[in-house]
């Protein structure tokens, strides 16, 4: 019998304090969490900072009961509590907002709220529930339309509904896992502001996983920094500088300096997209009349709230999705995403999550590095015959030049770490002359060092004359790398501005579709 079942359900309306003491979690030979103690005072807004894989989510999952820690204790309002599963956490009033929505899209907000209740009756008296929902919402600092299907709500409203759901379930310690990644900057600021105000009124306590310094500094009270499973620092926001927080996150790793923007010595190719229409999986036009021209030696960043046609645009340009209408021109010649055109026009790509999108996990590193070259000499002879030795030689060369850490060229690529897979793909795509480069969320899921390395490589290609299309959900990345910024909204370019002097607020407004 768990502790949660022995306690009466928490019916407080105050945000509790929460403390972890010496949390440790070991997976096999991996120490994912090493003696982590953090303290979140009641009514505060706490930030958990750390690199990808630093142990933030392991810590949160231990608090939520998804994992059972090997060592360590959890204290709520100073009392030690045992959480054996997520239901225990819920009963104690600890709730979590995930990176991606957990609402049922076809149901209304009211239905989502009532259905989320563990004690929802088999037959629901909607009139009574509605009355209770209204009184509940009257006590809340913000509300959402109750009667529209969730699918028709904007991302910001969905996120508010996720938070309302936790409050409705009387959960007063909220854990947010990168809650703003699907929001425009405006929506993010609004929601974080509301949460901070509620926390400061003592109604809730918030712990937020983030890697956006700007948000942490603007909204949070305290911060804990994790690195490689251990707590390496923390303190009051405002006392700690951004530089100090970054240094704690990265440790002593050397970060590659971003390559300077220089005028390219050669004129490569220009990429022109004219009147492009691409359907999504449901057969609707996700890309609808997209026009854009990218010059040689230019990075154009595509900013936008995810789901506005970015992934369909990238998939269409890289041959993964048919083009319904419109033209793609490279140097004023028709481009079709076929192998011979990729080769002739020197079109290369860096997709997001390369292990999933750009490799065959079960094939060897050498084979994966040969995807562009296996059907050309010296690997192929007589068009058909494949020689493993030149393939391995090419791999050895690329492994050395791009510093890919792999036991042998014959190791299956799935056995490499994320950063090394990314470097292997970079080596394949960028080791020859590149005229057109199509990049989508290149740094998703990577650590600081890899991120800096990859951004420098992209800049390097630009400086060597490539036309670069950069789609990213990370506005900071777009602001850092781009020469021009295009905002995509409902499948077309809503706003185009030179990156120098671009205004975050204006971009955010166009992202939101205004």
């Amino acid at each position: 019998m768990s502790v949660a079942q022995m306690l009466p359900p928490a019916v407080t309306t105050k945000g509790p304090s929460l403390e972890t003491i010496g949390m440790t979690k070991v997976f096999g030979s991996l120490v994912a969490l090493n003696d982590v103690s953090i303290k979140v005072p009641a009514g505060s807004f706490h930030a958990l900072l750390g690199e990808n894989g630093a142990g933030k989510s392991t810590l949160v999952k231990c608090i939520m009961g998804f994992y059972i820690p090997d060592k360590g204790a959890l204290k709520l309002d100073g009392q030690e509590v045992a959480v054996h599963n997520p239901r225990d956490a819920q009963a104690l009033g600890i709730g979590m907002v995930y990176q991606h929505f957990t609402l049922v899209p076809s149901l209304t907000a009211a239905e989502n709220l009532v259905a989320s209740r563990a004690d929802a009756p088999a037959v629901i008296n909607w009139r009574k529930e509605r009355r209770e929902l209204e009184t509940f919402l009257d006590r809340m600092p913000f509300r959402v339309p109750l009667d529209r299907p969730v699918s028709s709500l904007a991302a910001g409203e969905k996120q508010k509904l996720e938070i309302l759901k936790l409050l409705y379930l009387n959960q007063r310690f909220l854990i947010l896992d990168e809650p703003t990644s699907v929001l425009t900057p405006g929506e993010a600021d609004e929601i974080l502001g509301l949460l901070r105000d509620m926390a400061h009124r003592g109604e809730i306590t918030v712990a937020m996983i983030s890697h956006k310094f700007r948000e942490v500094e603007a909204f949070c009270d305290d911060v804990s920094v994790l690195r490689r499973g251990a707590k390496v620092g923390g303190g009051k926001v405002g006392v700690l500088t951004t530089r100090e927080m970054a240094a704690m996150m990265i440790g002593d790793a050397v970060i590659r300096q971003s390559a300077a923007r220089v005028d390219p010595p050669r004129i490569g190719a220009s990429l022109e997209i004219a009147g492009l229409f691409v359907e999504n999986d449901e057969g609707r036009d996700a890309v609808a009349g997209f026009d854009l021209k990218i010059k040689s030696g230019e990075i154009v960043g595509i900013a936008g709230v995810s789901g506005n046609g970015q992934s369909e645009l990238v998939e269409a340009l890289s041959g993964q999705r048919p083009i319904k209408m419109g033209q793609v021109l490279i140097n004023d010649q028709d481009f079709e995403p076929k192998r011979d055109h990729f080769y002739r026009f020197k079109v290369f790509g860096l997709p997001e999550e390369p292990l999933k999108n750009a490799t065959v996990p079960t094939m060897s590193v050498a084979e994966n590095m040969a995807f562009r070259s296996f059907d050309k000499p010296p690997i192929a002879s007589m068009k058909w015959w494949l020689s493993p030795e030149p393939m391995r030689a090419q791999a050895r060369d690329l492994i050395a030049r791009y510093n890919v850490k792999t036991p042998t060229p014959d190791t299956p690529i799935r056995d490499l770490s994320g950063g090394n897979v990314q470097r292997a793909v970079l080596a394949r795509e960028l080791s020859v002359d590149v005229d057109v480069l199509i990049v989508a969320n290149p740094c998703f899921g990577l650590d600081f060092v890899s991120v800096a390395d990859i951004r420098a490589q992209i800049m390097d290609q630009r400086n060597r004359g490539a036309a670069v299309l950069l789609v990213s959900e990370d506005l900071d990345e777009i602001l850092e790398l781009s020469d021009r910024i295009a905002v995509i909204s409902e499948g077309k370019v809503a706003y185009l501005t030179p990156a120098a002097g671009a205004d975050r607020t204006t971009i955010g407004r166009y992202m939101a579709g205004h």
Binding site: N34, R339, D340, F342, K356, A358, P361, F371, P388
Partner: protein
């Protein structure tokens, strides 16, 4: 990453154990998993089948003895086994090649039946007119072409229309058998044979001979050579490489601009061609005519052979011989142990179920996972 299991990059270096043993030994250990788990599955299936035999009051030891005697024990029975394994090699190849491109095709039976029927049908007007060698050559071409077309349809439907290739190829099998029956019982029926509706017999002069010095027809040798050829095709040519990329990650293949449609249909057609060839040998080396006996289940046993061989063309040959022995001893077991001929099917079914279940065991045993020299980023 803020969700999902922790990766190696989360661990301090201290937690990494150095790899033990030489590189070759490690690779051998890692690969032995692919032998040990199917062998374990075979053993488990054998145990279950022994229980089945005990439950119906028969001796499992007798059963083993008769399989040995009927399939492997004497020169005669072993040659019989090799003969039976010939269609199994070919139909297993018909499963293995599509599997390499990520498709589970189980339509070898239909392609075998239609290929054999096409060979027999095209021979009818040539018997006694054209020389045997030319007739056999045309029969081979017809069998491969029709078989290839038949499975090719399932491949095309998969690529162009997203139709599930497993269901499509299975249903095409039933259509194929029905088409053969339609002709064999109709316009192509040999009027002089009142017992079983069949096409006109080829006659001894038009039959495929035996491998010299043996009692095994040429189909076995062709099957072995084809297995080697297809192994080379899939591992040492640009076509095979492109097919493996497509099968391993369809999205990555598209992003490399590979002609995935052509690759998929080609692999399906190669598969159908293999099964069609099996049909040719059944007609031209065994039966001498096309009739309902063509649908003897070789196409379905081939599925099992290919899965047990993990779709490796070279491994298919010994596995096919093993199953050929089971098939060959079926008659003896039926007579001596007074068991229905479906008994062997029970064994095959058990093997298949246990084998598919054992797929979940891969990667679960620390023994096969020597700690790799994973490098952190």
């Amino acid at each position: 990453m803020s969700t999902g299991a922790p990766t190696a990059s989360e661990v301090p270096a201290v937690a990494m154990k150095p790899a033990a043993g030489s590189d070759f030994a490690l690779r051998l250990r890692a690969n032995s998993e692919y032998v040990a788990i199917p062998a374990f599955a075979l053993l488990m299936a054998a145990l279950l089948f022994a229980l089945f035999l005990l439950a119906i009051g028969k001796s499992p030891i007798d059963f083993v003895a008769y399989v040995w005697r009927g399939g492997f024990g004497t020169a005669f029975s072993f040659q019989n086994t090799l003969q039976r394994s010939s269609p199994l090699i070919l139909t297993a190849l018909a499963v293995a090649i599509p599997a390499r491109i990520g498709l589970i095709m189980i339509g070898a039976e239909g392609a075998l039946v239609l290929g054999g029927f096409a060979a027999a049908a095209i021979a009818v007007p040539m018997i006694g007119v054209a020389p045997p060698f030319l007739t056999l050559a045309i029969m081979v071409v017809a069998a491969i072409a029709v078989g290839g077309l038949w499975v090719g349809i399932a491949g095309y439907l998969r690529y162009a229309r997203g139709v599930n290739e497993t269901i499509a190829s299975l249903l095409l099998t039933y259509i194929g058998i029905a088409i053969m029956n339609f002709f064999v019982e109709g316009v192509l029926r040999d009027a002089s044979n009142p017992n079983k509706p069949s096409t006109k017999p080829l006659g001894d002069a038009y039959m495929v001979g035996k491998i010299p010095g043996t009692d095994v027809h040429w189909g076995f040798a062709v099957g072995v050579l084809l297995a080697i050829a297809l192994y080379i095709l899939m591992t040492r040519t640009t076509f095979g490489f492109a097919a493996r990329v497509t099968g391993g990650n369809f999205r990555a293949a598209l992003a490399q601009g590979l002609p995935v449609g052509k690759l998929i249909v080609s692999c399906a057609m190669i598969a159908g061609g293999c099964a069609g060839l099996a049909g040719f040998f059944e007609v031209a080396a065994i039966q001498g005519r096309a009739n309902a006996s063509l649908a003897a289940g070789y196409g379905f046993t081939g599925i099992l052979v290919s899965f047990l061989a993990r779709h490796n063309p070279l491994v298919i040959v010994p596995v096919a011989i093993l199953f050929g022995g089971l098939v060959a001893s079926g008659g003896l077991i039926q007579r001596r142990m007074d068991l229905p001929d479906a008994t062997v099917l029970v064994l095959q079914g058990l093997i298949f179920v246990v084998l598919l279940t054992s797929e979940t065991l891969y990667g679960r045993f620390a023994f096969f996972k020597p700690i790799k020299g994973r490098d952190r980023t």
